[in-house]
Amino acid sequence: MDKLLELLSENAKLTAEQLAVMLNLTTQQVSEKIEQYEKDGIIIGYKTLINWEKVDKSKAIALIGLRVTPKQDNGFDEIAGRIMQFDEVESVYLMSGGYDLTVKVCGKSMQDIAAFVMRRLAPLDSVLSTATHFILTRYKDGGVILNKDKEQDERRSVLCD
């Protein structure tokens, strides 16, 4: 994998100047590469990872497993397309295993999500069943460990003894 993508996937705030130094490229080369990645749909966005639980205690996230009836011409695409229109829906995945689709939903509260499932998801034509799994604690998300104690470097200087 391109080191540029690796570095950006860890920290989107690195500037083109910083990336250029790290990768032994010119700033212009880095900017051009990033632009190309954006054009090609390889870089599809820049977001901030937020520990929402610290901002709003009642905020809830659920993973909802859906079994659905696929359509003859376009399989799961149509229903997936409908579901991803909802603002509450953060991710939609077609799955192997027990469910067809897994939908990640964020809501103001658990009740909020429950209402969304009952009123919006479950009644959809091709949805056969829903199984809602609330996330109780996020330990690690998007590659980042949440609520980490202050990092301790266990390495000791051996030089001084």
């Binding site: 080191k3 570095l7 910083q18 032994n24 470097d153 390495r155 000791r156 200087s157 030089l159 003894d161």
Partner: protein, 389 residues
């Protein structure tokens, strides 16, 4: 009451302590200190290597190994030397597994040195060569390497220090603390003098896997006529992030390894068994781990060198190991003053260059064996400090 002073070995008592102990004591007692002082990888040992250690412990493989180390390990070391440096060493007689590279350094010096023999030690360099030479009865002769020579050992400086008593040259490259490397042409230039004067060489290549800029490290033993007079010291600590496993090795002429093995046998018995099993796995399947870590260090290296240069601390571009050695003499402070004030005012710990030899004065050693985030924070604190002095 016992008078310990009277009972001690005079040679040991005369050894200088490293001199920066006090500095570390202060750092350890302060809060919120951000350190760039540690000289070991921040990576943990690759999981498959740790797993092999665990597996052999579970199977109860907890006995001594043969004195020289398991033959399976020596076979793998032999293949490693062949693969990485095109050097061929016989596993039965030319390789000795030691407790870290440090033990191999000690054994080499003790096996070669008679009282009064002179040992050439380029500085700045790691702190162990001089005391070990003294304890072996040798006379350390320091060769000061210079920034204008990229801290390499030059033929002229080497020739200057050779006397009829010169027995051994230490080659500490890739270098801790400067990050200097000796490329093939640099080694060829000094090899003529070494061979003409019939000097033995201890080539400490513990950072051999960590060189940057596209060209691989060249072992001193690869140069024509050098293998027969060189003991190569290497190990697992830096290449495979295995410092705590305490495992290294020496590869060299049969006659030297034979004497070293005696010392090792009586002083140590054998290197840690678990570590040896793990090291076999590292050598068999760890080349990718090395390139991954080297790639990460390289990114940090560019970043930190650029950081120092842009804040006006002129920084020699290191090509090996994981240290930078910026020049701080422009601040008007000694290296120790610089480090102490930096610690007190900005809570950043780096090491005075003078700790690595008198010619390290005017420089500080900064390790980039830390995350980019950590390095970024430290650099911004150092920059703040520079603006205030």
């Amino acid at each position: 009451m016992t008078d310990y002073c009277q009972n001690m070995s005079k040679a040991v008592v005369s050894l200088q302590p490293s001199g920066i102990r006090r500095f570390f004591d202060i750092a350890n007692e302060m809060d919120n200190v951000i350190s760039l002082s540690i000289g070991e990888p921040d990576f943990t040992t690759p999981w498959h290597v740790r797993q092999e250690g665990i597996r052999t412990l579970e199977e109860g493989k907890t006995w001594y190994s043969p004195n020289r180390g398991f033959i399976e390990l020596r076979n793998e070391i032999s293949r490693f030397m062949e693969r990485h440096y095109s050097l061929s060493y016989k596993p039965e007689s030319e390789i000795l597994v030691t407790v870290g590279g440090s033990e191999a350094i000690d054994l080499t010096i003790r096996s070669l040195i008679n009282p009064g023999d002179e040992v050439l030690i380029p500085e700045p360099s790691f702190v162990c060569y001089k005391p070990l030479t003294i304890m072996a009865g040798g006379v350390p002769v320091i060769i000061e390497t210079k920034k204008e020579d990229k801290f390499k050992l030059t033929a002229e400086e080497l020739a200057d220090k050779i006397t009829p008593k010169t027995k051994l040259l230490i080659l500490p490259f890739p270098n801790n603390p400067t990050g200097a490397v000796m490329r093939r042409s640099d080694l060829e230039a000094i090899s003529k003098i070494i061979i003409e004067n019939n000097i033995m060489v201890l080539s400490d290549e513990i950072y051999g896997e960590l060189t940057y800029g596209g060209t691989k490290h060249v072992s001193a033993a690869e140069i024509d006529g050098m293998k027969e007079r060189t003991v190569v010291v290497n190990g697992f600590s830096k290449a495979y992030a295995m410092t705590g496993w305490r495992l290294g090795f020496a590869a060299g002429p049969k006659a030297v390894i034979k004497q070293m093995t005696k010392l090792h046998q009586y002083g140590i018995m054998s290197a840690p068994t678990t570590s040896q099993y793990a090291a076999i796995e590292a050598l068999k399947n760890g080349d990718d781990d090395i390139s991954y870590m080297r790639g990460e260090y390289d990114i940090r290296r560019r970043f930190i060198v650029n950081g120092f240069n842009s804040m006006g601390l002129n920084c020699f571009e290191p090509e090996g190991a994981f240290y930078v050695f910026p020049c701080i003499s422009g601040t008007g402070l000694s290296s120790e003053q610089f480090c102490e004030q930096l610690l007190h005012s900005e809570r950043v710990a780096v090491i005075p260059g003078a700790a690595f030899g008198a010619c390290g004065e005017g420089f500080v050693r900064v390790s980039y064996s830390y995350s980019l985030k950590h390095i970024t924070e430290a650099l911004s604190r150092i920059e703040h400090f520079i603006k205030s002095v």
